[in-house]
């Protein structure tokens, strides 16, 4: 898809995430992202809450009561799911499609990046993203999200979050290689008895044409706050314009009709 080498991606293998938040911290440090408030939500150990203008990585903590095998044959316990979420760098990115200024662009690495000096703060990308990733920074009015460490990629470095991850839950590389590796990983987990392991965002036939940042999850996507079947909104744009054209014609016809008989 570009002449500058293969499209890069993130494969986030949540089965080995330990919830240390090193990715969140590394991202903030490298990119100079302002602090986003430390909210104790009384729901879990998550004090970031969600991705936003000032949180480009977000580690979700899901606490589930469920039966777990134990020494005397079984019982109930708690299982923790942890997952480091990030912008999906969609193949068909709604944020990029709807951006009226061209501030959002597809980089030579196949990633989706906001040019902060072009963004005029219209906010259109915010409700367009099917993953609720990009948001407007209240103080400066512009839209912000993960840049895939555009500057580091340019210098031949891996993104800060991937480098900081101590368990290799966040893996960076050419997207093709990552997809192959993820397929092997998910089948191995399933063979070993983790039947609920599944990939999310890896399928190029999905509604966003496949994500540049995809995941291995241990439960339904919505449990992690991810939409189960996201669709790029511009897929339906032609139909919306057709409806608008029909409405515009009806308006013109209606206006003409009220003059019927009043000609003098």
């Amino acid at each position: 898809m570009n002449e500058h080498g293969p499209r890069v991606g993130f494969f986030t293998d949540t089965s080995v995430c330990i919830g240390c938040k090193a990715c969140e911290v590394a991202c903030k440090e490298w990119n100079g992202v302002p602090e986003d408030g430390l909210d104790f939500r009384a729901t879990s150990y998550d004090n970031t809450g969600m991705l936003g203008a000032n949180s480009w990585r977000h580690v979700a903590f899901v606490e589930q009561a469920r039966p777990v095998p134990s020494g005397d044959g079984g019982g109930s316990g708690v299982r923790w799911l942890m997952s480091s979420d990030v912008c999906k760098h969609c193949t068909r990115a709604a944020c990029l499609d709807v951006c009226p200024t061209g501030a959002l662009f597809r980089s030579e690495f196949g990633t989706v990046v906001v040019q902060a000096d072009v963004c005029n703060g219209c906010g259109y990308c915010v409700p367009a993203c099917p993953f609720g990733v990009i948001d407007q920074r209240k103080d400066d009015g512009r839209a912000w999200k993960c840049t895939f460490c555009y500057d580091r990629l340019g210098a031949g470095l891996e993104p800060a979050c991937a480098q900081a991850c101590p368990t290799d839950s966040i893996q960076f590389g050419p997207l093709d290689e990552l997809r192959a590796r993820a397929a092997r990983r998910v089948s191995r987990l399933q063979e070993q008895g983790t039947a609920e392991a599944r990939l999310y965002g890896h399928d190029q036939g999905d509604g966003v044409g496949g994500a540049g940042a995809f995941f291995l999850l241990l439960d339904d996507p919505e449990v992690y706050g991810l939409p189960p079947d996201p669709v790029v909104t511009t897929r339906d744009l032609a139909g919306m314009w057709r409806a608008a054209a029909a409405a515009a014609l009806s308006l013109a016809a209606g206006v003409a009709a009220v003059f019927a008989g009043s000609r003098r």
Binding site: G49, Q64, C99, G141, T233, A244, S250, L251
Partner: protein
Amino acid sequence: MVPDAEVRSYYDQPVLKAPVWRWPIPAYFFAGGLAGASATLALAARVAGNDRLARRALLNSAGAVLVSPVLLVEDLGRPGRFANMLRVLKPTSPMNTGAWLLAAMGPAAVGAAASELTGVARGPGRALECASGALGPLLATYTAVLVSDTAVPAWHEAGRELPFVFASGAAASAGAAAVLLTPGPEAAPARRLALFAALAELAGTRIMERRLGPEAGAPYGGGGRAARLSRWAAALTAGGAALMAAGRRRRTLEVAGAATLLAGAAVERFAVVQAGTESALEPRATVAPQRRRLSGAARPGARGQLGAGAQPGAGAQRGEETRPSPA
């Protein structure tokens, strides 16, 4: 329909980000609609030889089109960069298309009105009048595409109906505004337009809310802010139309009715925008239809129907496997 209890989420947090648009955006939807439909009304009046009505409608259009960019710039995070929208031509972005539309419509309507008022350059003035009259219906309806082209269920799923709601609201506004400025028999077509369009707006809004269904349309039901705004809009539109109909020979009644009708169209835009916010913040509205679509599609990879429209598989039930209860 999958019962709510079965829809899982991350601690009930939203999946989507709520729109960040403040009051100037729905106000602009109203002003743009008024400007567009008024220009078309002016052109039709001119063609019919009703110059008095044409003049008033043209002035309304020019006034509303002058307010529009002010509202748009007011809402930008970086107002100084408004012109960045006009540095590219981007058909995938209805906001970009709309900026160009407004950039063409504004000078046309204002130029036509200036020529009308001053009597200068009547030939070019008439040409501008034609141009603005032709662009008007698009200016009145593209804003529906703008909001539908998002991931917000209450907006996206209304993609087919919303343009008609906005078009009829715009026509009602244009008719009512022309009646406000034009006493007497010349306003008869504007009066008819206001009444018919008000009825169409009432019907269109109900159809849209019904077709959205209980998930995407949730903000319009119940006692939330969008539902209250929507009920106010309907009451004002119906009341305004009734007053106008009753006030055919009583100018005060008619003026009150026209003003009420304008208020109804404006409040309807605020209702639609508010519904989007509430819809985005409700994770079930996003998750439940997608979950049904997935269970309808059975095999992974079997849902590559890009461009096929967003209709979910008809009410397929999930539950082919037992899942652990939500956290």
